[in-house]
């Protein structure tokens, strides 16, 4: 399996994306912001289709749009209720725009399917390099804000009183989420971003009571699911994204069982 060049690239790309998505997803779930991650992926769809239409690399459009949208979301709504509506509106508007861009682009069907459901085997070495560099930058940024982020996520009022710039931290975090979403979309597609960002993270929170340990577990689970999915896809010839979602769902179910038996 690893004799093939495209498989080696696919393993590397999905590994990079899974590690980032698992880690970032852990904090996204802890903050109860999974909906924001979902919306960002849809914005990414608009970015990618727009980029294709204008002859740019889809990855650039994907990352660019999610990044700007992530910062916008962070600066925007304060209250959760308002945020839900605002995010929902942005989500549908983004998908609608993406549809329009696809409409103008002739080879719509294959591109749309790759964007929506991922095409990890189509990642070339240039894209892999971009993914790795973006992931490295995201991990560095996360390491810088990690302490205030955890504090603000658990006890935002106290964090504010202790002088944590809560708004800045949450905006910076959403920018990191945006990059993770874009990386994930490259592997499993815009519609299935949840499977690497939320599935492993939610499972890790059922398995573990620790913070850093839980985040590491989420990253490990995401990596195992991504590589497992690739392997299964290689031998069955079924779509990679299907196998990743199946493994992610299974692991999550297992974690629920563990959690409820522990009670």
């Amino acid at each position: 399996m690893l004799d093939y060049d495209f498989m080696r690239t696919a393993f590397a790309a999905s590994g990079v994306a899974a590690l980032l998505a698992g880690t970032v997803g852990f904090f996204l779930v802890m903050r109860g912001q999974t909906f924001a991650g979902h919306a960002l992926s849809h914005v990414g769809f608009t970015g990618a289709t727009g980029a294709i239409l204008f002859g740019l690399p889809p990855l650039a459009g994907l990352v660019g749009f999610t990044f700007v949208a992530g910062i916008g979301m962070g600066l925007f709504g304060e209250k959760l209720a308002e945020r839900d509506v605002a995010i929902g509106m942005m989500l549908s508007l983004a998908l609608g725009l993406g549809l329009l861009f696809l409409h103008f682009y002739t080879a719509a069907a294959t591109q749309a399917s790759a964007l929506l459901f991922g095409n990890v085997l189509g990642v070339d070495s240039a894209a892999l390099l971009t993914l790795a560099a973006l992931a490295l930058a995201s991990f560095a940024a996360l390491a810088i804000i990690i302490r205030p982020l955890i504090f603000a996520s658990l006890e935002s009022e106290l964090a504010e009183a202790r002088g944590v710039p809560v708004r800045f931290v949450s905006t910076a975090f959403l920018a990191i989420v945006a990059v993770a979403v874009a990386e994930c979309a490259q592997i499993v597609g815009v519609l299935l971003v949840f499977t690497l960002m939320v599935g492993p993270a939610a499972a890790a929170q059922n398995f573990s009571r620790k913070l850093m340990g839980g985040a590491a577990l989420a990253a490990g689970l995401a990596l195992a699911e991504a590589w497992g999915g690739l392997t299964l896809a290689f031998y069955t010839d079924w779509p990679t994204s299907f196998w990743i979602t199946a493994l992610s769902g299974l692991v999550y179910l297992g974690s629920l069982a563990v959690r409820f038996r522990a009670r």
Binding site: I144, R147, F151, L158, R209, K210, L211
Partner: protein, 268 residues
């Protein structure tokens, strides 16, 4: 020097004066209970003392300097709205996250910080409780673990916002006793807000009563009396005293008790 002083302070929020030209001060090492109806501004007053709110007029000084955000000499416990009740993290980790949460960069806990966290948990009798996840604790136990956070950093003023809310009488007494002991042992000033006077009355040195934009501080017998409270509530108030218990009555309604009855439904 006062632990906290308000000098002719006006705070306007949403077009309403929460405080109007209010002046009072809390002395070093003093345990003050803060009371007042819902919306009288108890939380607002604490937030202003933490430098989180703009003042329309006047000056707030905490521990000798103008109130600014992130003053490490102030310990604070915000009102617990139950957001942490479902958390599966260990209490110790939550306290630790708060202790180093204001620092950027990949900071790790050093030995001194670990010792301080254990010490703070010991002070509130929650060292053992903190081994369990917050979600497994009862409301009163969780409150004690969270209370330890206000002790970290060796504060000289501690503000506790409604720490008795939705606790049963036994846990209420427990939290008040812990606060009194902290005040005595550590020589810190404590501002403790509550919606009923009776659980606090034997422990506090003075009472700060808010209402109608005013803040009145003094001994319990001076403040919790018909004439003062009638002004603060804007309605005729009669105070009935039975032994060491006070009943603040507007007509035949117990205002302190009834205004907050809804809080007692959510026993954890």
């Amino acid at each position: 020097m006062s632990a906290l002083s308000f000098d002719k302070v006006t705070i306007r929020l949403g077009g309403r004066d929460i405080l109007r030209n209010a002046s009072f001060s809390i002395e070093d090492g003093e345990f003050v209970g803060m009371l007042g109806a819902n919306g009288a501004g108890k939380t607002t007053l604490m937030r202003a003392s933490l430098g989180l709110l703009p003042l329309s007029a006047g000056e707030v000084r905490a521990l000798g300097r103008r109130a600014t955000r992130g003053n490490p000499e102030i310990g604070y416990m915000p009102q617990n709205r139950g957001a942490l009740a479902g958390l599966r993290l260990r209490g110790w980790d939550v306290v630790a996250s708060a202790a180093i949460g204001a620092r950027f960069g990949f900071v790790t806990l050093d030995k001194a910080m670990r010792r301080e966290i254990d010490w703070a948990l010991d002070m509130v009798g929650a060292r053992e409780l903190a081994r369990r996840s917050l979600g497994e604790l009862s409301g009163g136990e969780r409150q004690r673990v969270l209370l330890s956070q206000a002790l970290i950093g060796k504060p000289r003023l501690i503000m506790l916002d409604e720490p008795l809310i939705s606790l049963d009488p036994g846990h209420q007494r427990n939290v008040v006793e812990i606060a009194r002991r902290i005040c005595d042992d550590l020589k810190v000033a404590i501002l403790f807000s509550a919606h009923e006077l009776n659980p606090l009355v034997n422990a506090i040195d003075r009472v700060l009563y808010l209402g109608h934009g005013e803040a009145v501080i003094g001994a319990v017998d001076e403040v919790v009396a018909g004439p003062v409270l009638s002004r603060l509530y804007g309605a005729p108030i009669e105070v009935v005293r039975a032994g060491n218990r006070y009943y603040v009555m507007a007509g035949d309604v117990d205002v302190e008790h009834d205004a907050h009855r809804h809080d007692h439904h959510a026993h954890a």
